[in-house]
C-alpha cells in the first residue's frame, strides 16, 4: 500500500484588540448586549463610509515584523462581494493582491501573507445544533461586525496534526507577546481553519485539499485535523478520490460534515475599495512598530538556556508556549537564585502542562508552585505527594504548606514511623523478605509497595529500600 503524508496549511484569524473597530469609532467589546456597539458605518447604512483604523495597521505591521514578513510600502483594501445576513454592506472590506505583509517564517513554517480585514457580525440560529441547517429563525448581532482582523495564511508546510497544534500555540504566544490581541480561541479572538491534503511520500505535487473550519480550541484543532487526515487516508486507500470542499468539525461527535456546495460557489468579484485610499506605510510607521516589538519566543528560549541553564528543547517548549513560559519565569523568580530553576522548568513543562489546558484560567499560581517546589527541594514532601498537592492547587487553590499540614502529607523518614512500617511489611510477607535476604533484588518490589501503601506515598523510595536491606542484613 502506498504510504501517504499529510500536507497542512493554516489560515488564522486574529481579532485585533484595538479600542475601536476597523473602519468606525465603535468599541468592540465581547459579551455586551446585542446590537449596542453599532453605528451607521458598521451597520452598513446607506451613505456611511469607512475610515481605516491606523492602530489596526500598526498592529498588522507589528505582526508582520514578528513573523519576519516583508512589509508593503503601499497596500490596498478590496471589496469582497457576497450576500449574507452577517455582512451588512453585502461586501467585506478585506485585502486581495496587495496585502500589508507578505512572506515570512515562524519555526519551520513559511508565512504566505498577513492581511487586514473586518469581522462579520454574529448570526444566532434557533436550532438544536445552533447551526443554520434546520433553524426556524436567525437573528444578527452586529456588535462583532467590523472588528479588526488580521488573517495569517501559512504555506502548506505542516505535516501532522500535532505539529499544527504546537505551531498554532507558538503563533498564539507570539501574537500575545505583541499585545495586539486577546488570542482566546474560546471567545473567538483566535480562529483557525486548516487546508488539508494527502500525497504519496516523496511526491512534490499537492493532492486535492479540503478546508476544515470551526475548530475552536487547540485540542479540537489537533483532533479535527487528525480526523480529516484519517478520512482522506481511508478514502484514498480504498480507491476513492478526495473532493475539494469545506468541512465542519463537530467536536462533540468527532464527525466531519460538508457544508452545502452552494455556499461554496462564490465569485467574490474583488475590486479596489473606492471609499478608501491606498495605505502608505512610511518609514516612521515601520520604526514605531519595530520599537514596540517585545522579546519574541525564539529570543526568549535562548535566554532561558543562558540565564537558567535549561536544555534547549525544554527552553523552547516553555518559551513557545507563553502561558508556561510566564509561569516558569514568575515561579523561578520567587524561588530565587538559590534554588534550581531546572526543577521549576521540568515541573512547569511536565506536571503543570499535562494538567492545564492552554489558555485556561484554571491553573496554579506561581507563589503556590514556588512554595510547593521549595517543600520538595527541602525534602519535606515526596514527589508523589507533591503531584497530589498540585492537583488540589489547580482545582481549588490554597497553600501547599497548609495542605501538607492539614492532610498529613509530610514526608515519613528517619523516624520510628517508617521503621515500624518496614518491620510490618517484612512481617507480613516473610517469603519476599527471605528472597531479598538471599540477594534476589526483584523481591524488593512487593515490600516497598507495602511500605508505600502504609505511608500513603509519603516515604522516599530510596530510603525505604535502604532500610529494608539494613533490617534484613541485621537479622
Amino acid at each position: 500500500m502506498i504510504e501517504l503524508e499529510p500536507v497542512i496549511g493554516l489560515e488564522i484569524h486574529v481579532q485585533l484588540a484595538t479600542k475601536t473597530k476597523m473602519f468606525c469609532g465603535c468599541e468592540p467589546v465581547f459579551g455586551e448586549n446585542p446590537n449596542t456597539r453599532t453605528c451607521p458605518v458598521c451597520l452598513g447604512l446607506p451613505g456611511a463610509l469607512p475610515v481605516i483604523n491606523e492602530r489596526a495597521v500598526d498592529f498588522g505591521l507589528r505582526l508582520g515584523l514578528a513573523l519576519g514578513c516583508e512589509l508593503a510600502n503601499r497596500s490596498i483594501f478590496h471589496r469582497k462581494n457576497y450576500f449574507y445576513a452577517d455582512l451588512p454592506k453585502g461586501y467585506q472590506i478585506s485585502q486581495f493582491d496587495e496585502p500589508l505583509c507578505s512572506g515570512g517564517f515562524l519555526d519551520g513554517v513559511r508565512i504566505h501573507r498577513v492581511h487586514l480585514e473586518e469581522d462579520a457580525a454574529k448570526l444566532v440560529h434557533s436550532s438544536s445544533s445552533g447551526r443554520i441547517q434546520g433553524a426556524d429563525s436567525s437573528v444578527v448581532d452586529f456588535n462583532r461586525g467590523g472588528t479588526p482582523l488580521a488573517e495569517i495564511v501559512t504555506e502548506p508546510d505542516i505535516t501532522s496534526a500535532a505539529q499544527a497544534r504546537e505551531w498554532l500555540s507558538l503563533l498564539r504566544t507570539t501574537v500575545k507577546s505583541l499585545g495586539i490581541s486577546d488570542v482566546s480561541m474560546e471567545e473567538g479572538s483566535l480562529r483557525c481553519d486548516a487546508n488539508i491534503s494527502l500525497r504519496p511520500v516523496g511526491e512534490t505535487t499537492l493532492g486535492t485539499k479540503t478546508e476544515l473550519k470551526n475548530m475552536n480550541s487547540f485540542r479540537f484543532v489537533e483532533k479535527g485535523i487528525e480526523a480529516e487526515i484519517e478520512r482522506q487516508r481511508e478514502l484514498i486507500q480504498s480507491g476513492g478520490t478526495v473532493v475539494q470542499e469545506t468541512l465542519h468539525f463537530d467536536p462533540r461527535s468527532g464527525s466531519l460534515t460538508a457544508l452545502r456546495s452552494k455556499e461554496e460557489a462564490h465569485d467574490y468579484r474583488y475590486f479596489p475599495e473606492p471609499d478608501l485610499l491606498p495605505v502608505a506605510v512610511g518609514p516612521e510607521m515601520i520604526k514605531a512598530a519595530q520599537d514596540s516589538l517585545p522579546e519574541l519566543p525564539a529570543a526568549r528560549a535562548s535566554r532561558y538556556e543562558e540565564e537558567f541553564g535549561l536544555a534547549s528543547e525544554l527552553a523552547q517548549r516553555l518559551a513557545f508556549n507563553g502561558d508556561l513560559g510566564d509561569l516558569f519565569e514568575a515561579t523561578a523568580a520567587i524561588c530565587g537564585a538559590g534554588s534550581d530553576a531546572r526543577l521549576v522548568a521540568t515541573w512547569v513543562n511536565g506536571e503543570v502542562s499535562s494538567r492545564v489546558d492552554e489558555g485556561s484560567d484554571q491553573t496554579v499560581e506561581p507563589e503556590a508552585l514556588a512554595e510547593l517546589l521549595g517543600l520538595l527541594e527541602d525534602d519535606k514532601i515526596t514527589t508523589a505527594a507533591a503531584r497530589g498537592i498540585l492537583d488540589t492547587l489547580i482545582e481549588h487553590g490554597g497553600s501547599p504548606a497548609d495542605l501538607v499540614e492539614s492532610q498529613g502529607l509530610g514526608k515519613v523518614g528517619g523516624g520510628d514511623e517508617l521503621s515500624a512500617a518496614v518491620d510490618a511489611a517484612i512481617a507480613s510477607d516473610p517469603e519476599a523478605a527471605a528472597k531479598v535476604a538471599a540477594g534476589e533484588q526483584k523481591a524488593l518490589g512487593p515490600l516497598v509497595g507495602l511500605v508505600m501503601k502504609a505511608t500513603q506515598g509519603r516515604a522516599d523510595g530510596g530510603e525505604v529500600r535502604a532500610l529494608i536491606f539494613s533490617k534484613l542484613a541485621d537479622s
Binding site: 446607506p46 451613505g47 453585502g90 468579484r269 473606492p274 478608501l276
Partner: protein
C-alpha cells in the same frame, strides 16, 4: 420688503438680510409659500416647521433644497427608489449638516432618478419631474428635481450630486447654474452612493455667484470620508474674471457630431462673446474622450453593483419575504424594490467584475480612465479652461428616450470625461434654442473652482440670460 424677495438671487438675499431689509422669518415664510406651489413633482418632501433651525453662518438663513439621496435625520431619504420608500436615516450627511450650520437650513428634498441613475428623471420611483420650461419635457437628470425646483423658483438654491453629469446636464436643461466640484473636495459622507469613485455633491443655483457662495461652505476635509481633501485654496466670493488672454480650449471630440444645431449655434455665439471679452479660443485635443462613455458605463455600474448590495431587506427599507429562505428574501426584495434601469446597471456591473472578465472590462475601463486624465493634464498645459456644450441637446420629450437606454446615455457625452478625470466643471445657461435652455460647460484642472467660477461669471454677465421660465413672472 415685498414678497418679491424670492426673485432675488441668494447673494442679494444674504445682503438684504445682513442690512436688515429682510427678516429671516419673512424669508422663511416666503420660501415655504413658494415650495408649496410645486406642481412639477420636483419636491419629495417639504418642511412643515414654522421655523428652520440653522447656525449663524454666512449663508444668512436662506433655505436649501436637497436631493433625495442625501441622508437627513428623521426626514425621508429615498434616493428615488421604492426600496427606500419612507426610509428615515438616523443621521444627517456631513454637507447638509455643514450648510445648516453655515446658515442654509433644509427646507425641501428633491426628486431624482433612482439611485442617481438616469438623465431624465424618468427613472424616479415616485414619478417623473417635469421641466418648468415645458411640462411635456424632462428636466434632465439625475438631479432633475433640484434643477427644476431652482428654475421654477420653488427653492432659492439646491444641492445636487454629479456622477457622470447629474448636476450639469439637468442644470443645462432647466436653464440654471450647476457646479460639479473637484472629486474629494466635498464630503460624500451621508450621500447614498451610486459610484463611489465618481460621486460628488455640488450646488445648483440661479447665478454663478450663488454657486460659488454655496460651494465655499461645502468644501473641506471630512474625517468621516477618507477620500475627502482640504481645498488648497480658499474659495473666494465670485468676481467676474477679466478674460483678456484667457486661453479656452474647444475639444473637437466633444463638440462635433451629435450636437444639435441649435445647441451648436448657442455654443458658437458664446465662444464669440468670449473672444470679444479678450479670450483666445483654439481647438484642444482630448483624443481618448470619445471612449469616456464606454469606460464610464463599466466603472459606474461595477461600483453600483457593490454599493447597492446593502439594500438587502435585512436591516432597513423594503422587505419582501416569500418564505423561501434568505436567498429567496434577497431576490424578492430586490426584484420588487429596484426599477429596470437600476437592475440593468447592477447586472452590467456584476458581469464586469466577474472572475475572468475583470481585466477585459473593469481593468481596461480604469486604464482608459487614466488616459483620459492624462489627456486633460496635457490640455491644461496649453489652456486655462476647456469649454463644450453641457448637453448635446435641449430638454427632450417625456418618454422619447426611455425605450432606448443607449440614446439616453449619450446625454452625458460631454460631461462624463470630466467626471472620470475628477476635475471641476460648471454649466451655465447659454440662452435658448426654440424656447428651451441650452447649457455651456467650463472645465478646469483639479481645485480650479475659483478660476472656472470667475470665467463663468464673466460670460454670465455678457450673456444676460433671463433665468426665469416665462410662467414664473
Amino acid at each position: 420688503m415685498s414678497t418679491d424677495s424670492t426673485k432675488l438671487s441668494v447673494t442679494e438675499t444674504v445682503a438684504a438680510v445682513a442690512s436688515g431689509l429682510l427678516s429671516k422669518a419673512e424669508l422663511h415664510a416666503a420660501w415655504l409659500d413658494r415650495a408649496g406651489l410645486d406642481d412639477l413633482n420636483a419636491l419629495s418632501w417639504v418642511s412643515d416647521s414654522p421655523e428652520l433651525v440653522h447656525g449663524d453662518g454666512p449663508l444668512g438663513g436662506v433655505p436649501l433644497g436637497v436631493k433625495d439621496l442625501f441622508c437627513t435625520e428623521g426626514v425621508p431619504s429615498q434616493s428615488g427608489s421604492k426600496i427606500l420608500e419612507g426610509y428615515l436615516p438616523p443621521y444627517t450627511a456631513t454637507v447638509v449638516e455643514a450648510l445648516a450650520q453655515a446658515g442654509a437650513p433644509l427646507i425641501a428634498k428633491t426628486h431624482q432618478d433612482e439611485f442617481a441613475m438616469g438623465s431624465s428623471n424618468e427613472n424616479c420611483a415616485f414619478g417623473p419631474v417635469l421641466n418648468p420650461w415645458d411640462r411635456g419635457r424632462v428636466p434632465g437628470g439625475s438631479s432633475g428635481g433640484s434643477a427644476a425646483a431652482v428654475a421654477a423658483g420653488l427653492v432659492p438654491w439646491a444641492l445636487g450630486t454629479d456622477t457622470g453629469g447629474s448636476i450639469r446636464q439637468p442644470a443645462a436643461l432647466c436653464g440654471v447654474v450647476g457646479l460639479k466640484p473637484t472629486y474629494g473636495s466635498v464630503s460624500r459622507y451621508g450621500m447614498i452612493a451610486f459610484a463611489s469613485s465618481l460621486d460628488q455633491a455640488g450646488p445648483i443655483t440661479r447665478t454663478v455667484a450663488d454657486a460659488g457662495l454655496l460651494y465655499s461652505q461645502m468644501t473641506g476635509k471630512d474625517p468621516r470620508d477618507a477620500t475627502s481633501v482640504e481645498h488648497p485654496d480658499s474659495v473666494e466670493p465670485v468676481v467676474p474674471m477679466d478674460l483678456t488672454g484667457v486661453r479656452l480650449g474647444v475639444p473637437e471630440e466633444l463638440t462635433g457630431e451629435g450636437v444639435e444645431p441649435g445647441v451648436r449655434e448657442a455654443f458658437e455665439a458664446t465662444l464669440d462673446l468670449a473672444r470679444s471679452l479678450g479670450a483666445t479660443v483654439a481647438p484642444c485635443p482630448l483624443p481618448h474622450a470619445p471612449h469616456a462613455l464606454s469606460a464610464y458605463y463599466l466603472i459606474a455600474p461595477a461600483e453600483c453593483s457593490s454599493n447597492l448590495a446593502r439594500l438587502d431587506g435585512v436591516r432597513f427599507g423594503l422587505r419582501v419575504d416569500p418564505d423561501e429562505g434568505l436567498d429567496g428574501m434577497y431576490g424578492a426584495t430586490r426584484a420588487a424594490g429596484f426599477g429596470p434601469e437600476v437592475r440593468r446597471r447592477i447586472m452590467l456591473g456584476t458581469y464586469a467584475l466577474s472572475s475572468g472578465y475583470y481585466d477585459a472590462y473593469y481593468g481596461r475601463a480604469q486604464r482608459v480612465r487614466t488616459l483620459i486624465s492624462q489627456d486633460f493634464d496635457s490640455a491644461f498645459e496649453d489652456f486655462d479652461a476647456i469649454v463644450t456644450p453641457t448637453s448635446p441637446s435641449v430638454a427632450f420629450e417625456l418618454g422619447s428616450k426611455t425605450a432606448d437606454p443607449l440614446s439616453m446615455y449619450l446625454s452625458d457625452f460631454c460631461t462624463v470625461p470630466m467626471s472620470l478625470a475628477g476635475i471641476p466643471a460648471i454649466s451655465i445657461p447659454n440662452g435658448l434654442s426654440d424656447g428651451l435652455p441650452v447649457g455651456f460647460q467650463i472645465a478646469g484642472p483639479a481645485f480650479s473652482e475659483n478660476r472656472i467660477l470667475g470665467i463663468a461669471a464673466a460670460l454670465e454677465d455678457g450673456l444676460k440670460f433671463d433665468g426665469s421660465p416665462a410662467w414664473i413672472a
